[in-house]
Symmetry: C2
């Protein structure tokens, strides 16, 4: 958390990862992000992982630092409240972030009728509006068929990488559009398609050109690093490490730290490649790996850590989620990224803030996610100026609900 | 490309994916992004994929729409030119984006001495400044050990997802810092660590809380969708499809489109779960998959496409990079994201623009990456006001170089 964007107000109508992450990124820089959900919660309200009581740790993780308004979006009066919140006056207000199809009365034209300089960001699945999610976009990307050992069986990523990229593109687009509005007074609709995020990325990494220019596609090569040297190795004590040599300096450090410099040089001679180049190391990778693999198998993880400490070798250990959380000092309150925070309805745990340190905006402790409907009354009073009587009537009519579901 | 940020100038000293992607994102919104590289090219200048002549399709992909300046960063006079470019006057200038350790004279304090309101964004590996790259950060994340079928062997992602997220966080942070400067006159240093990007994401998705609150960690479940229904299936003609049911509507559509509604309902009875809930479908996933798998095995990809068309079933086909580029209409110039552009030194191919459509800033064709040093003279003249004679002297002294390497 910091206060860098304290003068912005963003209304978010969203679900799952992408738009919630985009909105949370703004909230963690101090923007007032009001997430609107149906009274019983959105379609992501119970997403796994959950606690034994069914509270979603996923929802809590992706909605930190926001305010929550529970609203009957299936009723015209509910949608009219949403429209009023999105189009309310104020130089930093008038911004909608959404990854759901626009509801009646909440399309861009309707919003613009309420506020001429409104900014609306919308993530779709495909550009034509048809559905696509991280799983389907990923299947089409080409990556699952080159993940793992190959053999024609796709391996999906577990990290929802396309959603995360899309959410951060939305955050970037939001700030760019708000910058334009601050300079020109002009609002606009900004649309991104999740499939286009994937397509642009495949192109940015050179894989479209590889097919078109080279008539070639990157093969599946397990955990090897394409075009350079990198591979995973088992250690003497049953752990695994990833060892990499991207640069000549890293390559030399690896030879020195393992005592294998001369034998590795022989590999270059035998394979007739220049091991000071990435392409040379890639060509000779199996022979390099044979030497490094024997060395790793003869050393425990601790011995490897000691051998590599301070040498410039680029390496890392594999760890599972439990090992990450329990053993890695980077994943603890010793890292300023984190603080132990009490999440209402769940309890205290280690919560990350934004992975950006702004010198001019000191880091504040992470703020938990709201309870569903926690800020309903506060937002209606503050933003729309509704009286207690009017708010009470909306509760009675089931147009809004508070944290008790009423 | 668009012209939304046409009044910004950003100097980029970078390599590999993260900072180049962040800078390219700005360039694709019209910012003047000047990438400075050593005269022979940076450490990523030959990264794979490459053409048969060794031109890097990867470098071309991540540096589109930028200007390139080749500079002897190993010499004090070269670094002084870099410093002058970064700290040159102008309201939209004075911004550095880097993921390399700061060179002498280019640290934040030195830059600030040259321009009080300078903004410098820096990506490090770990927060303590030690090296970390996507491969090592990923090994530590926990994800490789739950990717694929499990059994304790890690499976690395191929998409450099942490780098991509970090690059987009940098883009967001740059716009937030520039917004702050426009309002207050205050510059600042903004620092992100790649490891923190990973740690924040693991936390945002609920996996840290899962360990701390539930003493549980998500297992490896192949291509299944955790906590809901999703799995890949072979088709009658040797293709593979991903079929998903996140919402009750998608679940009902799947039963109807396959004609399996009644048999799937029996699965719910037999397994004693409510298949209208995600948790129920996850619990019963193997039995659901047995029915769906037999159905898919009896249908070709085309038959499946026809059966699912217009039904609301959420599904996608797996395809490799070649199939994506050659067969998927989304990956063609029919998609406004793309245009066929000539990349100097490589030739024409399908180039993506930014996956964001700004209504107020019309999409322009993608601009290719520069040749290394292509804009050296232009930038020195335009930004620093150097004369032709001074620029000639810098070439003679090997302080700068043009596209011919001199």
């Amino acid at each position: 958390m910091n206060r860098l964007l304290h003068d912005l107000r963003i209304v978010e109508i969203s679900a799952f990862v992408a738009a919630p992450l985009g909105g949370m990124t703004m909230a963690q820089m101090g923007a007032d992000v009001i997430r609107i959900d149906p009274i019983a919660g959105g379609i992501d309200f119970a997403r796994w992982p959950v606690t034994k009581d069914g509270a979603s740790l996923y929802w809590a993780g992706l909605n930190k630092a926001k305010r929550s308004l529970a609203l009957a979006l299936d009723k015209p009066e509910g949608r009219e409240i949403a429209r009023a919140l999105i189009t309310a006056p104020g130089p930093g207000a008038g911004i909608l972030l959404s990854n759901l199809p626009p509801l009646r009365g909440l399309d861009f034209a309707s919003l613009k009728a309420g506020r001429a300089d409104v900014i609306a960001l919308r993530l779709t699945g495909n550009r034509d509006g048809s559905a696509a999610v991280d799983y389907t976009v990923n299947a089409a990307s080409g990556f699952p068929l080159v993940t793992g050992a190959g053999g024609g069986l796709p391996v999906n990523h577990v990290l929802p990488a396309w959603d995360i990229a899309a959410g951060l593109y939305l955050a970037t687009g939001l700030l760019a559009a708000e910058r334009h509005r601050a300079r020109t007074g002009e609002g606009q609709e900004v649309v991104a398609a999740l499939a286009d995020v994937m397509l642009a990325t495949v192109g940015n990494l050179g894989y479209i050109a590889d097919v078109q220019v080279n008539a070639h596609a990157r093969p599946a090569i397990g955990n090897d690093l394409y075009g350079s040297f990198g591979r995973d190795f088992p250690t003497a004590d049953g752990r695994r490490v990833m060892i990499i040599a991207l640069t000549p300096r890293q390559w030399r450090a690896l030879g020195q730290a393992t005592g294998l410099t001369e034998r590795l040089a022989t590999v270059g001679t035998v394979m007739e490649v220049d091991l000071d180049t990435e392409a040379g190391r890639y060509e000779a990778r199996d022979m390099i790996a044979a030497l490094l693999g024997r060395w790793c198998a003869g050393h425990s993880l601790d011995e490897i850590r000691q051998a590599f400490a301070g040498t410039g070798v680029l390496w890392g250990q594999f760890q599972d989620f439990q090992q990450l959380v329990r053993d890695d000092p980077r994943c603890s309150a010793a890292n300023p990224l984190f603080a132990e925070v009490n999440q209402p309805g769940i309890g205290p745990y280690l919560m990350p803030g934004l992975p950006l340190d702004f010198a001019a905006a000191p880091r504040l402790p992470p703020r938990p996610a709201p309870r569903l409907g926690e800020h309903t009354d506060m937002v209606l009073a503050e933003v729309l100026g509704l009286s207690a009587g009017e708010i009470g009537r909306l509760h009675d009519d089931r147009i809004v609900a508070g944290p008790d579901g009423r």
